[in-house]
């Protein structure tokens, strides 16, 4: 039976997918940044070409796409090989159509399809058992086999209410054009038969001030009437006022690939080579507290490291290998100040502890960042649309937040980094009371949802492993 478009995407989601809502305002508030037009088709889904680099405060900064959208879904398709085969063909055809229509650049459309554990365990369990890479580092540390994809966990600073999601897939759409994103979402979710039930639509923005002006976070927060919006600095890339896409603070090129750092055993055929891991979460940000309870120095201390010196109104702080804190520094800060900085605390886990040469011969020096962030601010509360408003505590009133999107080589790698943010370091845990200002960021953040996904390489992005026999 062929489902109607409305049935396909879960009723109201059909109309919502194409709707821009408040995010249409982005296009009225800023011009798309100047971009190079072309991009190559990489084996990786998660890498974008044509990302411009600008300098701010003497630091190289990547200019991310203005618009972002994540659509999560559960599959409606049956688990029989023939049904999976057909579904795979359909999805791949839609993705190919988008590849032909748009370059994988900010001026075109970046499409990243990621798959959750429920997909692997319910649809291709036998194949997953054989082909899902093993995280060698985590396996050695925990004394049991650990795959590169694990269920998300609640971290020490999370509330009990933080929801651990069980979506089958998530699609990340990135572009300077909201129309491109709408077309991408419509192509993937409107035009298929009985394939998926959309569970959430998450939208947002980032930047918008690379060529001057107040920037999107401030203007959008003002437009939405968010408390504290007036206090966001002009030019801020994100609501919290600091630049997060310093080139040296993000993992370069293929470093977050499953195969690059040797964390994973890719198995007999290297099926998932050029793939990576995606963590998706949503968190609310209390902007009024951030800008009224924390002064600039405290915001600097808590975002980077205690005692950091920077002139007032600095937004971009160097985060190169020489600026990295190791665990000894973080512990010293804790002993002396009873504080840790966000960047400083995660760096012992997020930066390379030694030089690494990747399988393609690329040398990654000690101190190089591993995670590749693709997070974006949002006014969703917590989502733009959800199939289960009550479960997700959905509200129409806009609320300042962040859809956190990050690519790490494995679930365990993300877990280590996020635990470090809570003061859980390899050498032992730094104790903080829940919500303590000593943990900086965490006292103004409130995480509502989390899930981990595996991002297959482009060649296997549609229903990975389904083409293999069980």
């Amino acid at each position: 039976m062929r489902l109607t478009r409305k049935q396909l995407v879960g009723g109201a989601a059909a109309s919502v997918l194409a709707a821009g809502g408040i995010y249409r305002l982005v296009d009225e508030l800023t011009e798309p940044p100047t971009r190079t037009a072309s991009g190559s088709v990489r084996p990786e889904q998660h890498l974008l070409d044509g990302v411009r680099v600008v300098r701010d405060n003497g630091v190289e900064v990547l200019v991310p796409p203005l618009h972002h959208e994540v659509v999560t879904a559960k599959l409606r398709v049956g688990a029989s090989p023939s049904e999976l085969h057909d579904a795979r063909q359909n999805l791949e055809a839609a993705l190919t159509q988008l590849d032909e229509r748009f370059a994988a650049t900010p001026s075109g459309l970046g499409v990243t399809v990621a798959w959750g554990l429920p997909y692997f365990s319910e649809y291709v369990p036998a194949q997953a058992e054989r082909y899902l890479p093993v995280d060698l580092r985590a396996t050695a540390a925990r004394g049991e086999t650990v795959r590169v994809l694990e269920d998300a966990i609640r971290f020490p600073s999370d509330q009990d209410s933080t929801r651990l999601e069980t979506n089958d897939l998530a699609v990340l759409l990135r572009s300077d054009s909201l129309d491109h994103i709408a077309e991408g979402a419509a192509t993937l979710f409107d035009d298929h038969d009985a394939l998926v039930r959309v569970t959430s639509i998450r939208k947002g923005f980032v930047g918008g001030a690379s060529e001057g002006g107040p920037g999107l976070p401030k203007q959008m927060a003002l437009a939405a009437g968010i408390q504290g919006a007036e206090l966001i600095p002009d030019g801020a890339q994100l609501f919290l006022g600091f630049t997060s896409t310093q080139k040296a603070g993000l993992g370069p090129s293929k470093i977050a690939n499953l195969e690059t750092l040797g964390y994973a055993d890719l198995g007999p055929s290297g099926y998932f080579a050029h793939g990576t891991h995606l963590h998706l979460s949503h968190l609310f940000e209390d902007l009024a507290a951030w800008y009224q309870v924390f002064d600039f120095q405290e915001r600097l201390d808590t975002t980077f490291r205690p005692g950091l010196v920077a002139s007032p109104e600095t937004q971009t702080v160097a985060q190169g290998p020489k600026d990295v804190q190791d665990e000894r520094h973080v512990r010293h800060d804790y002993e002396r100040h009873r504080r840790i900085g966000h960047s400083g605390s995660v760096q012992p886990a997020s930066r390379l502890a030694r030089d690494v040469v990747g399988p393609d011969g690329t040398r990654y020096p000690k101190g190089t960042a591993v995670p590749q962030r693709a997070d974006f601010n949002t006014l969703d509360n917590p989502f733009f649309w959800t199939s289960e408003p009550s479960r997700d505590a959905y509200a129409e009133a806009p609320s300042a937040g962040l859809h956190f999107v990050i690519f790490n080589p494995t679930s365990d790698d993300f877990r280590r980094t996020r635990l470090a943010m809570d003061g859980v370091l390899p050498g032992g845990r730094l104790t903080f009371e829940t919500g303590s200002r000593g943990q900086g960021f965490n006292s103004v953040l409130s995480t509502t949802h989390r899930q981990n996904f595996l991002v297959p390489p482009r060649a296997h992005r549609s229903f990975p492993l389904a083409e293999l026999s069980a």
Binding site: G21, I22, R24, L25, E28, L29, P214, K218, Q219, L222, A223, A224, G225, I226, Q227, G228, A229, E230, L231, D234, D286, L287, A288, A289, Y291, Q292, V293, F294, D295, F296, Q297, E298, P312, R336, H337, R338, R339, L379, E396, A397, P398, S399, L430, T431, F432, E433, S436, R437, G438
Partner: protein, 223 residues
Amino acid sequence: MKRRIASVAIVVAIGAIAVVVGAAFGSWAWGADEESSSVATVEEVESPPVCARSQRGSWQKLANEIRAPVYCPSWLPSPLVGQFGGRFFNGRSVDPDRSYLVSFVWFERSLGIVNEVHVNLRGYPGTTRIPACEDTLTVAGKTVRTRIPCFSDKRGTKRIGGATVTVYTANQGADQWHVLYAWRRNGTLYTLSEHVAEPYGVEEVISHLDRMMRRLVLVPPSA
């Protein structure tokens, strides 16, 4: 954090307007000069600020006690009334260094929403330095105390009510969550601040502070 209630649809509709307001508001602390503005309310044109007879005695007593002029507010945001000992009076304190704090507050909790209008007036006779506050952080049984400026995150200056005020948005102690105006007169630092909380957002608070500044009445010591 209290959030304004507005539907996305409404926000979209008003978005463009709000941005225009926001853009205009962006200049609130960056050199806005009352004297360069030709806009004045009828009230301001017709009636110079006067410290109400019922309040004058209390302010005079304070000025005499600290041996320095104090400022009597002839206008406070609704619903506050600047009556010492009145319904909204939240206290008056004088420290050994003669610095003072006078506070008026209205507070109401309804349906889980806290509404608060809170205004503080301060003076630091004989000094124009930003005072230092103690920031206390207790983590895992250890308390760390650091000295930090009581008024921080300077957002520019503006000339208003005959004074050059500096605007601070991250403040400590009784002024936490307040937007604060600070100015100097004859070697004394004075401040006026209002809490940013429902029912008033930052822009309303700024508007209130501007009006309060224009309506302050200097009360010198009589002794």
